[in-house]
């Protein structure tokens, strides 16, 4: 027979004024197994807690029900006190007779409130009789982190975690870290040069004792759960021995073959053995294998001949390695919508119609023109440039429904950069709305208009075509309600930011959620903006949606601080509300496996001593299980149950209704 104690709280007058707490206690005393009851003024006060503990000890109780306020208020308090008094915290339950009863049934005769409190408490007592003692789950935490993506968000996260004294593995798919930010010329609204603020951070990451960088690498598989991930990384063959390479550049200087430069957005060529840009980190070239005649047809091989330290290896193969980490930051970034979609703007047809990112390269001192604004077709300085905003953004019919957030600002910046370099040049901007929310952003746009004379036209462009060596841009100016036709030398498209083509694949590898645009979902858009639904995996930067540099940096730091908090203890305590499968009744239908929102259930093979498979069964991973109980209701064999909310407990409550 259980020995249950029932403590009915008066909550001053909050409960007592509409519930006869003494009567509730007396009624409960009649239930089998209830050996102690009382009514008390303030159960949560410290004399109340002392009384509670004393009553447990003196009456040798093995379970308690506190009939009081919502468990969301004081469940923790009473469970802690129970534990101190020597009973398992999960043998303490709360009946909510304040929020659910006394406060919402202001009947002064106390009849209604008392009757309902009796019911509510009885249901909880019956449930408690079926409670089993549960133990908090302690998960060991491996205090190393993985950062996927070496753009500014990933670099920031890696640096902050490393500064916090923890090891970080930074995985980048390109030959160098730096991401999209490395391509930018100046940055709004301060106009500081992008590389000047980024490259010191890249170098810092490279030299940091706690950071290991794998470039030209991709994460292929992630197993495990918070505190205990196992990650498989593919290091693609660079055909250059990283250890030996001094970065002298003799190889790419001598390489006779060229290919379009990804970094220069196709505005320039690079060699087949190359570093993407001069400040690349690491400063180790890679061979673009599909375009290398030595690798493809065994012809050439010049680079190997000129390399002093002999680090070229045409036979090199991809390497697979496994790293164990406790937390992951996903910072895989964005790409631009293919401009080819916008035939009406002449992209791909007219050489001098370029993208905003290409303009960044033209304006960049380290770019293909050395920072001179020259149009791609003939290298002439354009006397007038038309900038078209919202190319694909906010346009569900042709592009995406959302706003790409940074284009208004960088277009204003482009007009300024252009004017600073071509003093008599005229910039025109076609826009839908100007969105310049952000510190000093609105002033920045005004400066472009008022100081640098950019001509802003509110309206859409309908057609772009060539006539007598000029680009004719036809559009509407809705503010003057007229059609406009501008003769331009160059057109720059502010194309939409979209998720990376590989976004969905990466999300599946990691088990995180993404939206219909392929951007990763945060756990909660306001309260948990850098967490994902998968515990231990965090987000930073544009992989979760368009954002500017400051925001990306903030998210990187925020993720890092979450991870450092996680790494501050050796073990992580988890509520033991997890599902368990009964091996005897599981018939391996995998209904639970498909139902579980956290992919917390594995298919497990049961083998005999000879190693033959006898059967299969479902197995819950307590590290991943969040305790929703979806699997329990999904299982038709009733083979899964949820600790803390077992069928037995729920039925006991229903039967006491």
């Amino acid at each position: 027979m259980p020995r249950i104690g029932v403590f009915v709280c008066q909550c001053g007058n909050n409960i007592e004024s509409t519930v006869e707490t003494k009567e509730v206690a007396e009624e409960m005393e009649k239930l089998p197994g209830v050996v102690y009851t009382c009514s008390y003024k303030f159960m949560c006060s410290s004399p109340g807690q002392d009384m509670f503990k004393k009553a447990i000890e003196e009456n040798n109780l093995d379970g308690v029900v506190v009939s009081a306020c919502s468990p969301h208020m004081h469940e923790k308090t009473f469970r802690k006190a129970s534990e101190k008094a020597g009973i398992n915290p999960y043998k303490c339950e709360i009946a909510n007779i304040r929020e659910q009863c006394s406060w919402v049934h202001p009947d002064k005769t106390k009849a209604v409130g008392t009757a309902k409190s009796v019911d509510l408490t009885r249901m909880v007592i019956e449930r408690l009789k079926k409670n089993r003692p549960l133990k908090t789950i302690n998960i060991p935490v491996n205090k190393r982190a993985l950062v996927i993506g070496g753009g500014i968000a990933g670099i920031q996260a890696a640096l902050d975690i490393a500064e916090g004294g923890r090891e970080v593995i930074l995985v980048e798919r390109e030959p160098s870290i730096g991401g999209n930010m490395a391509k930018l010329s100046e940055t709004f609204p301060t106009m500081d040069c992008s590389q000047c603020i980024l490259t010191p951070k890249m170098v810092e990451a490279e030299l940091h004792d706690n950071i290991k960088i794998y470039t030209y690498s991709e994460v292929e598989k992630v197993d495990g759960y918070i505190g205990n991930f196992s990650v498989r990384i593919r290091r693609k063959a660079k055909y250059v021995d990283e250890e030996k390479c001094t970065g002298c550049g003799a190889c790419w200087e001598k390489c006779p073959f060229k290919s379009d430069s990804e970094f220069e957005m196709g505005l320039n060529k690079r060699k087949v053995i190359y570093t993407p840009f001069p400040q690349a980190v690491p400063n180790v070239p890679v061979i673009d294998a599909p375009n290398c005649p030595k690798i493809q047809k065994d012809k050439c091989g010049l680079c190997a001949k000129v390399c002093g330290p002999q680090c070229i290896d045409f036979e090199q193969e991809d390497k697979i390695l496994t790293e164990e980490v406790g937390a992951i930051v996903v910072a895989t970034g964005y790409q631009l919508m293919p401009n080819e979609r916008f035939g009406e703007y002449g992209y791909g047809r007219i050489k001098d119609v370029i993208s905003g990112m290409q303009f960044e390269r033209l304006a960049s001192a380290s770019g293909p023109t050395g920072g001179k604004i020259q149009r791609p077709s003939d290298g002439k300085e354009p006397g007038s440039v038309v900038f078209i905003q919202c190319v694909g953004s906010r346009d569900e019919a042709k592009g995406v429904s959302y706003c790409s957030k940074v284009c208004c600002m960088y277009t204003a910046k482009h007009t300024m950069l252009y004017r600073h370099k071509v003093h008599d040049g005229q910039a025109y901007v076609f826009y839908m709305d100007i969105r310049s929310g952000g510190k000093r952003y609105e002033e920045f746009v005004r400066r472009a208009i008022e100081h640098d004379d950019a001509m802003y036209l509110r309206g859409r462009v309908s057609r772009v075509y060539e006539r007598d060596g000029k680009i004719i841009v036809q559009g509407a100016d809705t503010l003057s309600a007229s059609q406009v036709e501008i003769e331009a030398d160059m057109v720059v498209l502010a194309t939409a930011i979209v998720s990376r083509t590989s976004a969905a694949t990466v999300a599946k590898t990691l088990g995180i959620a993404y939206d219909k645009h392929g951007f990763y979902n945060e756990y909660h858009p306001k309260m948990k903006p850098v967490e994902t639904v998968t515990a231990g995996i965090f987000l930073a930067g544009t992989c979760m949606g368009p954002m500017d540099i400051p925001e990306s940096v903030m998210m990187g730091s925020a993720s890092a601080s979450k991870i450092l908090a996680l790494f501050s203890s050796d073990e992580m305590a988890r509520e033991p509300i997890t599902a368990h499968v009964n091996a005897m009744t599981c018939n391996a239908c995998w209904d639970c496996v498909t139902a579980c929102p956290y992919t917390a259930i594995d298919k497990e093979e049961v083998k005999d001593r000879k190693g033959n498979t006898v059967r299969w069964q479902a197995q819950v991973n307590p590290g991943l299980c969040q305790g929703c109980g979806v699997c329990v209701a999904a299982c038709r064999s009733k083979a899964v149950d949820l600790a803390g909310y077992t069928d037995e407990q729920v039925y006991a409550a229903i039967n006491a209704f």
Partner: protein, 156 residues
């Protein structure tokens, strides 16, 4: 046998309603109704579950068996589930179950499904009042109780 059946108590009969709610949205919404001192009909008894996805349709049958005149299931709004998709499972299961109840002849006005978020105290209050009034009009769930009694009597 018919004359032995319970008759509808005409005087102060009050419906008994059982509510299965999730911990994160509806339970918190009901708490908010309390902290805001809103007033509603006292006929509901809540059973808290982590998620509506935990609800086994048998819970509902068990509730009727124990004398519930109506059963209410409520959780987070679609898309807001604390466990991301648990409430979708609940919804799918519910639709199937409701169809089955209809098929066996149970008045589905005794079955309610709703989304009440942690901030929708008013919605919770309105819901309980509405369901209570509706069930009051329907009267006690004699069909089910008779069915149960019939089954008991049929036992050898």
């Amino acid at each position: 046998m018919a004359e032995e059946k319970e008759t509808i108590p005409t005087t102060d009969w009050e419906p008994r309603i059982m509510a299965f709610v999730c911990n994160w949205c509806t339970y918190a919404g009901a708490d908010l109704a309390g902290t805001s001192r809103m007033e509603y009909k006292p006929n509901v008894r809540i059973v808290k579950l982590p998620c509506t996805g935990r609800i086994d349709p048998l819970f509902i049958i068990k509730a009727f068996e124990n004398g519930a005149d109506a059963v209410l299931v409520s959780g987070c709004h679609p898309g807001d589930c604390h466990y991301t998709t648990g409430n979708y499972h609940a919804r799918r299961r519910w639709i199937g179950f409701r169809g089955l109840m209809e098929f066996v002849g149970i008045d589905t006005r005794r079955l309610h499904f709703s989304w009440v978020s942690a901030s929708e105290a008013i919605k919770w209050v309105d819901l309980i009042n509405k369901v209570t009034d509706e069930v009051k009009e329907l009267g006690p769930f004699m069909e089910y109780r008779n069915l149960k009694r019939g089954a008991e009597e049929a036992k050898p």
